[in-house]
């Protein structure tokens, strides 16, 4: 036990004091904040530049109605001007307008058809689907309104009668009823992605450390003092503690920032209800820790085994792929579980020990998973950990002293049976 502790302490202190850890811990949240924050900020940035749109409308009914529609209204940066075919004819006028678009005198040209209902929009850039959709909307409502009027109906009255009803989605939990505004899905994604990323990062980090001890030949000295199993256990626990430390620092940061953020926001927007913004249920955080620990042991042990099998990181790529697949698959299965978190398939998948960190985490975020399933999941994961540890300890014991050629799968199986 004392030896495991010694190995653990070395791995932990060595890593926590390293520049990589300090930089990663500081930059991690910044990167996350940037990922969330930058797009949000970007949508707030308004283009102040005036955008002139010509409407070729010989009839005039659309062009006159456009400035009233929301998209082209008073606060819009779009300026609509009506154009009619001049004496040279419609085709020639169109050519002239196209020339204006190319010369950037016009942002775009909207062509109202003489017959039929296909409108055309010509612009240098038609990739902005927000703009195109808004334009389509504006034009459609004008046309629909015109149709209604032609039938002698009152558009205002129609709108009133066809107004949609409101549906509020409320989530029922033991703690009460809570309003859902998509933050659950968001939280679910973020949580499972963090889990996935950290399992991968710490797993690979263990593998590297094993390979390093092999390639610097220090392992032989170590094994004259400590058994391979204790060495592996100390390493896995040490690196795991580094992971937990990082989470704690992040959680503290997060709590501080959201508390401060809520305070600031509260001062500016006193009437806004901010509780849903700040509030990550404590149970979700606890589950997160649980699934991190369970998943960590399985994957860290697997990666340690890979490290023992190969001589260099280059060599590890192929074998590593097999393990990484098990981590990537649940991410690919995410939509399935999100759509029906209670289905038999979702339950079965989330109980599979190699998938459960990510998938069970998702399920507890969305629904109340029955206690029996959580218990089963923990049980299966522990059983898988024991099995993996048993197998890998054997591989480790022999592989760690093997240099030279990478062992074949058959050889590895022989190691497992033999020792």
């Amino acid at each position: 036990m004392k030896q495991i502790w010694t190995v653990l302490k070395r791995e932990y202190l060595f890593r926590v004091k390293s520049k990589a850890f300090i930089i990663g811990t500081l930059l991690g949240p910044l990167a996350l904040a940037a990922m969330v924050g930058v797009p949000m900020l970007l949508t707030k940035v308004e283009v102040k530049e005036e955008r002139r749109v010509a409407v070729l409308d010989d009839g005039g009914s659309v062009a006159s109605a456009l400035p009233e529609s929301a998209f082209f209204g008073k606060n819009s940066t779009y300026r609509v001007t009506r154009v009619t075919s001049d004496s040279t004819g419609r085709a020639k006028t169109l050519e002239r307008l196209k020339g204006d678009v190319i010369a950037q005198r016009l942002h775009g040209v909207l062509i109202v058809p003489e017959k039929g209902e296909e409108f055309l929009y010509l612009a240098k850039n038609v990739g902005n689907f927000v703009e195109i959709a808004a334009l389509e909307n504006a034009v459609s409502s004008i046309v629909v309104e015109a149709r209604l009027k032609a039938e002698g109906l009152d558009p205002g009255r129609i709108e009133e009668l066809t107004r949609a009803v409101n549906l509020r989605a409320l989530r029922v939990t033991q703690e009460g009823v809570r309003e859902e505004k998509g933050q659950t899905i968001m939280l679910t994604y973020v949580m499972s992605l963090i889990l996935y990323t950290s399992l991968l990062i710490y797993g690979v980090s263990i593998m590297r450390s094993v390979i390093e001890e092999k390639s610097t030949r220090i392992v032989e000295v170590l094994l004259s003092s400590v058994s391979p199993f204790r060495l592996m256990a100390g390493k896995i626990l040490g690196v795991g503690s580094v992971g937990l430390t990082q989470y704690l620092i992040w959680a503290a940061f997060g709590a501080l920032i959201s508390a401060y953020g809520a305070l600031v926001a509260g001062a500016f927007l006193p009437r806004q209800d901010l509780s849903s913004f700040v509030n990550i249920p404590i149970s979700v955080l606890l589950y997160f820790l649980l699934f991190f620990v369970l998943g960590y042991f399985v994957y860290a042990t697997l990666y340690a085994g890979i490290g023992a099998m190969v001589n260099s990181e280059d060599e590890s790529q192929q074998v590593q792929l097999m393990v990484t697949m098990f981590l990537v698959l649940p991410i690919m299965l995410t939509p399935l579980v999100l759509k029906s978190p209670d289905s038999r398939l979702s339950v079965a998948l989330s109980l599979f020990p190699f998938f459960s960190p990510v998938l069970m985490m998702m399920r507890v975020c969305i629904i109340n998973v029955p206690a029996i399933q959580i218990a089963l999941c923990v049980g299966f994961s522990l059983a898988a950990t024991l099995l993996v540890t048993w197998v890998v300890a054997r591989i480790y014991r022999i592989g760690i002293l093997m240099y030279g050629k990478r062992p074949t799968l058959i050889e590895v199986v022989r190691w497992i049976r033999y020792s």
């Binding site: 010694t6 392992v219 000295v221 004259s224 003092s225 400590v226």
Partner: protein, 309 residues
């Protein structure tokens, strides 16, 4: 009591016999030479003594107990392939090694300072291991081997890559520890380095024990029929033209000549005087190296005969 006792130990790797039915013992407190050419099975034997690998058959007792992790804390092992944590600080790394062997913090700190001072590395204590020269790293590894005051030291090629001054320094420390009651095993293929120090040896070749005993009686057994000659004035091939010469081992101006059992060394001297200008002529016991070479050759030939038959 024996510090180590191997009884009928065998180990095979994927059909390759590394150690075959090896029995030997190392007396407690002795300076023991585990000799053999490269690939003879020395390192495998050592790894089994340390339970790094387990024997297929046979039993090993270390310091009176069955080999295993429990006795390992009394053993200091300097492997041939040196290995250190390159990114760690010298002092931290030594402390880690000491703690793994169960040394407490205070004693560890004292020991580290003492040995770093003694081996002239104290000013490097706070530096990273990778900043040290290769020779310094060798010394560092040696400190890691003795920090926990082992009762048994296993040194695999301990002096390779060191300058003569440091070799002497390490030898001095090893002898000190030996006087303090520590059993020392040198594993090497360079006999001249340990010949004067060892009071017991065993020679392994091709996984098997070839020779076992104390060097003095081994050499005596081979008799006083070896002559050391320092010569000038004629090619060394003439050395062997005398009918009483069994074989000779020459380096151009200096040779070790083995005479046949009934040959008279005085007659050989007369023969030599006729052909050479002699600077030295001495009748000696054969060196371990010579015995070693002969024994290895003999056992290889026996192997060959057996496989042909």
């Amino acid at each position: 009591m024996d510090a180590i006792r191997l009884s009928n130990v065998s180990k095979t790797f994927d059909g390759l016999r590394a150690v075959a039915d090896l029995s030997m013992s190392v007396p407690e407190g002795s300076l023991f030479g585990l000799l053999g050419p490269n690939g003879a099975g020395k390192t495998t034997t050592i790894r089994m003594i340390l339970s790094i690998i387990l024997p297929d058959a046979g039993s090993i007792a270390v310091l009176g107990k069955p080999a295993g992790q429990d006795v390992n804390k009394f053993i200091g092992y300097l492997p041939e392939e040196r290995g250190l944590y390159r990114k760690m600080k010298v002092g931290d790394m030594l402390m880690f090694m000491a703690e793994l062997k169960g040394v407490d913090k205070a004693a560890g700190r004292r020991g580290i300072d003492h040995w770093l001072e003694r081996l002239d590395l104290l000013s490097w204590k706070k530096r990273r291991v990778e900043e040290l020269s290769k020779g310094m790293q060798q010394k560092l590894q040696f400190i890691a081997t003795i920090l926990h005051q082992p009762r048994l030291m296993i040194l695999d090629e301990p002096f390779s890559g060191l300058d003569p001054i440091n070799v002497n320094l390490l030898k001095e420390i090893v002898l000190e520890m030996s006087r303090g009651g520590c059993t020392v095993i040198f594993s090497t293929h360079r006999m001249e380095q340990v010949e004067q120090m060892c009071d017991a040896i065993c020679l392994i070749n091709k996984a098997q024990l070839v020779l076992h005993g104390d060097p003095k009686s081994i050499r005596r057994e081979y008799g006083k029929n070896t002559v050391v000659v320092d010569f000038e004035g004629a090619p060394d091939s003439i050395l062997g033209e005398w009918p009483g010469v069994e074989k000779y081992n020459s380096s151009g101006r200096w040779a070790e000549v083995r005479l046949k059992r009934d040959a008279d060394s005085r007659e050989y001297l007369q023969y030599l005087v006729r052909h050479f200008r002699l600077n030295k002529f001495e009748v000696v016991e054969p060196s371990l190296e010579e015995i070693f070479i002969e024994k290895v050759r003999a056992s290889n030939e026996a192997d060959l005969d057996r496989s042909e038959a």
